[in-house]
Structure formats: C-alpha cells, structure tokens
C-alpha cells in the first residue's frame, strides 16, 4: 500500500533576537532568521538558516527611534531576498528551496513553491519585547 506523497503546505521565516537584550538599548540589535517549509506529514524542513541582520535601532522606544513590529517584519523579508533579486525579481531562493526539499524527499516545482502561503513567525521572546501578545 502506497502512502500519499508528502506535500509542502506552507513556507515561512522564523525570527528571534540574536543579541543580548541588554545590548538593544543603544548598541544595536541583532536578529537571526531561519526559513522553513511545513510538510503535510507534520515535518518541518529548514530551507535556509544563515541569515540575520543587525540594526542600529534599539528595541521598543518611540516610532522615530525605536523598532516596531513593522520594522522587524520588513527586515525579515529584506534579509531573505536572493542576492540577485534586483535582476530576477525573485523574492525567495526558490531553487535552493526546491533543492533542500528534494534532499528531504519532497519533490516540488518552483511554481508550486511560489503559490504557497508564506508567513513570518516571531519568537515568543521577540513578541514580548515588541509588546505583542504571546
């Protein structure tokens, strides 16, 4: 009896603080980002895990000087952009995603990947620091 082929059900980026909280008061703040795929069998496959960014803005504070949720989410999308996004117009590393998924035993086309929902997930710690409910 053949099991149903595993499918990718969604894509996303997980973001967490990557610097001590005490450093976010004026010495810059760092964040790490990991892109992932969710599979129909419940597994999660890491697609890209070497990204992140450092900003001169402290966490919290005023709209002018501090960091908002919008700021964080926008920068997540910025750091996952392919290096050649200016030439290709691609928002994600689709080829790399497909390769990683193939290595995990999941066959998926680039068009299928592009059609999937993509969400940004902030860690509980980060949500708390940004004043969001858990």
């Amino acid at each position: 009896m053949n099991a149903s082929p595993v499918a990718v059900t969604g894509l996303g980026a997980w973001c967490d603080l990557d610097s001590p909280e005490e450093d976010s008061g004026g010495r810059g703040t760092s964040f790490k980002v990991r892109e992932f795929a969710l599979l129909s069998d419940g597994r999660e496959v890491t697609l890209l895990d070497d990204r992140g960014w450092t900003t001169s803005a402290p966490l919290g504070g005023t709209a002018d000087a501090g960091m908002s949720v919008t700021h964080v989410v926008r920068n997540v999308y910025n750091v996952v952009l392919p290096d050649n996004a200016e030439e290709t117009g691609q928002e994600h590393e689709w080829q790399r995603f497909a390769q990683r998924l193939r290595e995990a035993g999941v066959e998926v086309t680039l068009d299928e990947l592009r059609a999937l929902p993509y969400r940004v997930v902030l860690s509980d710690r980060l949500r708390s620091l940004l004043g969001l409910p858990s």
Partner: protein, 181 residues
C-alpha cells in the same frame, strides 16, 4: 541661527568622512578606528560578535551640496546590515536604511566587509557605496561582495554606514562562514 549650525555640522561631516575614508582604505586596519597599516603585533580591534558601538563610530552626515533642509540636517536614520553570507562563491553583505525621522529621499549607504584574522583583528575587504531610498529590499540596498579564494571557516562581518542627517553606523554580528579571501 540655522545656517551657521548647518555649516558647522557640514565641517564635522567632512572630518568624519576623512576619518572613515582613511579607515576604509587601509587593507588591514581594524574597523573601529584602529591604525590603517599592518602591524606584526596585535592592534586594538572589535571582537567577533561585537555590535554597533556608536560612541566609537564616526558621526556621518554627508553629501552636503547646496542648501540642506533643517529636516534633513537634523534627522537620524537607522542603519541595517544583513549577516555576511556566501552567495555564488562570494562573501556577500547588504546594507540599507530605515527612515526614522528623516525625509523620504535617497541617502548614501556604505557597506564595508571585514574578515577576522588570526592576529585577532578585523581586516578590511571590499566595500561598496550606493545611493538608495529607505526601506531596503530589491533596488534599495547596497551590496558588497568579496570573492572567496578558499572554503575554510572564517569570521566575517560588515560595517554599514548611512550618511543622511546625523548618519548612523552599525557593525553586524560576526558570522563564521566557509569563505576565506
């Protein structure tokens, strides 16, 4: 009262550019204002993982030509840099800025790549400067690249400077990647 203030600030800006340019041009200088020439002995340098330290970064209002609006002169942008990563055989780092209380206009952004050496200091590698709108994303970021000549593990970071208004500089968290240059 505004004009002398702006002129004074412009003079500071020119000095800041000179300081930063001297730092960027040195092939082996430490990024936090260390000597620009190579020393056989260790020189003071930021430690891997060090974050932005604005107290030692040059304040950097620049690109002053003609009249500078008070809004532009007094604003403080946010400097952002992504973690240096390997892309198509290069070490690659992007820099962009967020508007803060600055006007929506283009600003110069400089990205300087640093590689960590066994003499416990950051060595300058390639840099890039461009003029971009705030927000980042494709077309609004500056990319610095350095060809990897080896694939052993080495520490990398970038120093991103935004020049509009009072300017801002950030040192990205050092990353160990499989690239030597």
């Amino acid at each position: 009262m505004k004009t002398p203030s702006i002129r004074s600030r412009a003079a500071i800006a020119v000095a800041a550019i000179a300081i930063l340019t001297a730092g960027l041009s040195g092939a082996t200088s430490a990024a936090a204002g260390g000597p620009a020439t190579h020393h056989a002995y260790p020189v003071p340098a930021p430690y891997p993982g060090a974050r932005a330290d604005r107290s030692t970064s040059p304040s950097a209002p620049v690109t002053i030509s003609g009249e500078l609006s008070p809004e532009m002169a007094n604003c403080t942008p946010t400097a952002n840099g992504d973690y240096v990563h390997v892309s198509s055989g290069d070490a690659s780092g992007h820099g962009w800025w967020l508007q803060g209380n600055c006007p929506y206009t283009k600003s110069s952004v400089t990205v300087q790549l640093n590689e960590w050496y066994s003499d416990n200091s950051w060595h300058n590698k390639n840099s890039a400067t461009g003029s971009v709108y705030p927000g980042g994303g494709a077309g609004n970021r500056v990319t610095a690249r350095q060809t990897c000549v080896g694939t052993t593990l080495a520490g990398w970071r970038s120093v991103v400077t935004v020049w509009i208004g009072w300017g801002n500089t950030v040192y990205t968290t050092g990353q160990n990647i499989y690239c030597t240059a």
